[in-house]
């Protein structure tokens, strides 16, 4: 592939990582959702680019789903949700932003260190993509762990999924990308519905905080 192609996809993937970093940085919900939407958008772009360079047309479907589902519908639903639950102001982080950012940096360093060990047995291209994807996934996990807020945890999970898609599309000619991706989108949808369903005020921690004691009558 041409150097240009490489640079473009490199740039896009890098952007995605940056965006998840800023997801980590952002602590108020509305901007969080915006950033996520942007990340999905960029991801859609990069998928499309991959489709173009790899000449794998079915990736375009993926890109399309990504675009309309993750970049449009989900953010909209989430807006509805936070307005509905009146939590669009609240900020709840377990550890402060600063430490989180440092941890995020460390994770990026870790994933780079890991991926760069890879001999060029796999394509330069794929390796880059995998490295970025790993970063995105770890950052997403970090976000899920460090945020108490249900919505931000959902977003963290979805950014993990973005990382997965990035990796999947990066891997040349991988079958079932679309299928798995759809399957995964179902998961996402279910989670979001679940958030609605259980009317989770604040957190994943429990459906209803007061329940912990009544439930599992195992407190001694």
């Amino acid at each position: 592939m041409s150097a240009l192609a490489f640079d473009v996809s490199h740039f896009l993937a890098g952007t995605i990582v940056l965006l998840s970093l800023s997801l980590l940085y952002q602590d108020r919900l509305p901007p969080l959702i915006n950033i996520f939407a942007v990340q999905s958008l960029v991801l859609a772009l990069s998928i499309a680019w991959q489709a173009q360079t790899q000449g794998a047309s079915h990736l375009l479907i993926t890109a399309g789903i990504e675009l309309c589902f993750k970049a449009a519908i989900i953010p909209y639903v989430l807006y509805r949700l936070i307005r509905h639950l009146k939590i669009h102001r609240t900020v709840e982080t377990v550890v402060g932003i600063g430490p989180t950012m440092i941890a995020g940096m460390a994770l990026i360093g870790l994933s780079m260190a890991l991926m760069m060990r890879a001999t060029s047995g796999i394509g330069e291209m794929a390796r880059e993509d995998l490295a970025f994807a790993l970063c995105v996934i770890l950052l997403g996990l970090l976000m899920m762990v460090t945020r108490r807020n249900a919505v931000s945890q959902v977003i963290g999970f979805m950014s993990i999924e973005n990382g997965l898609v990035l990796a999947a599309t990066g891997a040349k000619g991988m079958p079932f990308v679309v299928e798995t991706f759809v399957a995964f989108s179902v998961l996402i949808a279910l989670i979001v519905i679940g958030v609605f369903l259980f009317r989770i005020r604040e957190r994943f921690d429990t459906v209803d905080v007061a329940m912990l004691d009544r439930f599992r009558g195992e407190r001694r």
């Binding site: 994933s111 890991l114 970090l142 899920m144 762990v145 921690d205 195992e218 001694r220």
Partner: protein, 669 residues
């Protein structure tokens, strides 16, 4: 041939237990089950004795268990000796239960398991590879556990069951590791191949300690005995008799099989270890027993004591063998094996007696009994013989075997090592001490239970045990007397087994009456003849009573007890178990158990009763069990919080696991 026979008997026993399960509530179930058990055990006993006399070895491999290994079975003189003990006890217990079992409140809890238990014990003895051995070993534990918890309404029974099963599985794992070492890296689990390749010094030591832990926890050596006094009283009496008189012997068999047979040559220091363990066990066992007032618990602790005596004998045998004194080793081994048989005989007898008492009065607490010799004279007679036997009094069998062990200890000057020269006589002295304490303990047990006046209505209203139970008891009593009077028969019978262990045998005893005496080793021309002693005793008694008859005034008047002129006092003024043991407690238990006596006298004019308390401190429990239990509880509490974390925290655990592993990758690849 004999192995096939024994295995057929085992199959028959298993069949009986299966057949008993659905019918155990039927009126004839008790008779049928125990009758069948008695017959089958008798058959197995005959096979065993035949194998012992012929001192032949027969093996058999069945395509069971691990397919590439198969199940190896074998009957050699050692196995035959223990088969004889096991099935002798089995016959006795079955016959006793023919009568006793009819009073069983929950037959469906007992009948199906007893044959299985017997089968398990037989299997352990005939097993000839690690897998078969451990399978039958655990099967034995499981069935006996089911019997222990058979009267499951009381909390302490369940506690006993729990402690028992945990200790049993602990012991099994220890044995598993011992076999693991013996089998070597390429997993040769057949005993034959274990015998083949030898081990290094460290491995040998490890195996010996593991065997002590595994077999010892089952046999009840101090301080692993804690389950024993809990479990034996909890079970029905015929089961207590089996567990105490027979199962502990199976454990001893396991120890002998591993250490003498599979392990090959052993350093004399390890022999010292065994002697030491045995000595401490004997002493502590009898001291514990003296502190008890529950009859069956007292008997259980005496099992601990006798196991200690047996282990001293075995340790001496090891030490002698390590130094190449095969004749002395044979003497010690014979003594130990003989004591194994004797103990199973009189301990079963004593538990039968205790069972009869419990049946007649519903009491196990001696302090609520008394005067039973009037209500149940025959039971008292049998129990008395058993008590005298276990107290090592001539001319009974307990004395014969302990005499042999003393004779073995007296050969200790032959040892080249100082340690052994000093340890052997010291442990002999402690054995004598424990024998004397045992005598004291059984004066207490028999005196408080059967003599004196009834301390409760239950004891007043007691009635004699049924004929069959009595038959079983007197059968065993007869065995005790016979083995005491002509021990030569038994030592000759056991000689092949001793020879199997030590490649030598004690001189064949001259059995031409009346000089049937024991000659341990030709070197020191010591000898003991139970027969002559018994004969002299009989003659002397006859002469004495004759003289009384002829010369004395035969008039006899019944009247109130003199009692230094005190008026007729209430039975509560009699010596109880506690008060009888008080002097001994003062002398020994203050050190052994930190016994503390407190007396609370009410102020003068206050009518409140004075209170006397004794606090005992159980070293085994306090130093071994309590800490472990506490540690497990502590950890369980600490770890329990992981049940109540929030989802985010659980995610955190996943996340950290991931990051940790990735970091490891990043750093160490």
């Amino acid at each position: 041939m004999s192995v096939t026979g024994v295995l057929l008997c085992v199959a028959a026993l298993l069949g009986i237990s299966v057949a008993a399960a659905p019918n155990s509530r039927k009126p004839w179930a008790n008779f049928a089950t125990y009758g069948a058990c008695a017959l089958v055990c008798a058959a197995a006993l005959s096979f065993a004795v035949a194998a012992l006399i012929g001192s032949d070895t027969s093996t058999l491999i069945l395509p069971l268990g691990l397919p590439w290994l198969g199940m190896h079975f074998r009957v050699d003189p050692l196995a035959a000796a223990f088969l004889a003990v096991v099935n002798f006890g089995g016959v006795a217990a079955s016959v006793f239960a023919l009568g006793y079992g009819r009073h069983e409140s929950a037959p469906q809890r007992v009948l199906p398991f007893i044959p299985a238990f017997l089968a398990g014990m037989n299997l352990v003895v005939v097993a000839d590879d690690a897998f078969a051995f451990l399978l039958s070993w655990e099967f034995m534990s499981l069935t006996s556990w089911a019997l222990v918890v058979s009267h499951d309404r009381s909390a302490e029974t369940l506690r006993a069951g729990l402690v028992y099963i945990v200790m049993a599985s602990l012991g099994t794992l220890a044995l598993l590791f011992a076999f693991g070492i013996l089998a070597g890296p390429d997993g040769q689990y057949a005993f034959s191949s274990m015998r083949a390749h030898g081990l290094g010094a460290d491995a040998t030591m490890a195996v010996l300690f593991l065997a002590l832990l595994g077999a010892g926890s089952k046999a009840g050596i101090f301080p692993l005995h804690a389950w024993l006094p809990l479990a034996h009283p909890a079970a029905p009496s015929q089961v207590s008799a089996l567990m105490s008189g027979v199962m502990t012997k199976v454990a001893v068999y396991a120890f002998i099989r591993i250490v003498f047979d599979l392990l090959g040559p052993i350093d004399w220091r390890l022999g010292m270890v065994v002697i030491g363990v045995g000595t401490v066990t004997a002493l502590y066992g009898v001291l514990y027993a003296l502190m008890q007032h529950d009859l069956k618990r007292l008997l259980a602790y005496h099992t601990v004591e006798n196991i200690g005596i047996i282990f001293v004998g075995l340790g001496l045998a090891l030490a002698f063998r390590a130094n190449g004194f095969v004749a002395a080793a044979a003497l010690a081994a014979t003594a130990a094996l003989f004591h194994v048989f004797n103990h199973s005989a009189f301990k079963s007898l004593l538990f039968f007696g205790a069972g009869a008492v419990q049946n007649a009065t519903g009491e196990r607490d001696m302090d609520r009994l008394g005067g039973l010799i009037h209500a149940m004279p025959r039971t008292a007679m049998a129990f008395l013989i058993g008590a005298a036997a276990i107290s090592a009094l001539p001319p009974l069998n307990g004395f014969a075997s302990e005499w042999l062990i003393f004779q073995a200890a007296f050969l200790s000057p032959a040892f080249p090592q100082w340690g052994l020269r000093l340890l052997a006589p010291a442990s002999a002295a402690i054995l004598a001490l424990s024998a004397a304490l045992a005598a004291a303990c059984f004066v207490k047990a028999f005196g408080v239970t059967f003599l004196g006046r009834a301390r409760s209505d239950a004891a007043k209203l007691a009635c004699e045990a049924d004929k069959i139970s009595l038959a079983a008891m007197f059968g065993l009593a007869g065995a005790c007397i016979f083995a005491g009077i002509v021990p030569g028969y038994f030592t000759n019978l056991l000689a092949p087994a001793a020879q199997f262990l030590t490649t030598a045998r004690i001189p064949a005893q001259p059995l031409a009456a009346p000089w049937t005496s024991l000659l341990p080793v030709a070197a020191s021309h010591n000898s003991y003849s139970g027969f002559v002693i018994a004969a002299c005793l009989i003659v002397a008694t006859a002469l004495a009573s004759l003289a009384m008859h002829l010369f004395a005034n035969r008039a006899t008047r019944r009247s109130a007890a003199w009692d230094c002129g005190y008026p007729d006092t209430s039975p509560l003024t009699q010596y109880t178990a506690g008060s009888f043991a008080q002097p001994i407690r003062r002398v020994f238990a203050t050190m052994a158990f930190r016994a503390r006596e407190t007396v609370e006298m009410p102020v003068p004019g206050d009518a409140a009763p004075a209170q006397f308390r004794v606090r005992l401190w159980d070293p085994a429990w306090e130093l071994l069990y309590a800490p472990v239990a506490a540690a497990v509880n502590f950890l369980a509490d600490r770890i329990n919080v992981f049940q109540f974390l929030t989802i985010r925290r659980y995610l955190g655990m996943v996340f950290f696991a991931l990051v940790f592993l990735l970091t490891v990758l990043a750093l160490w690849t």
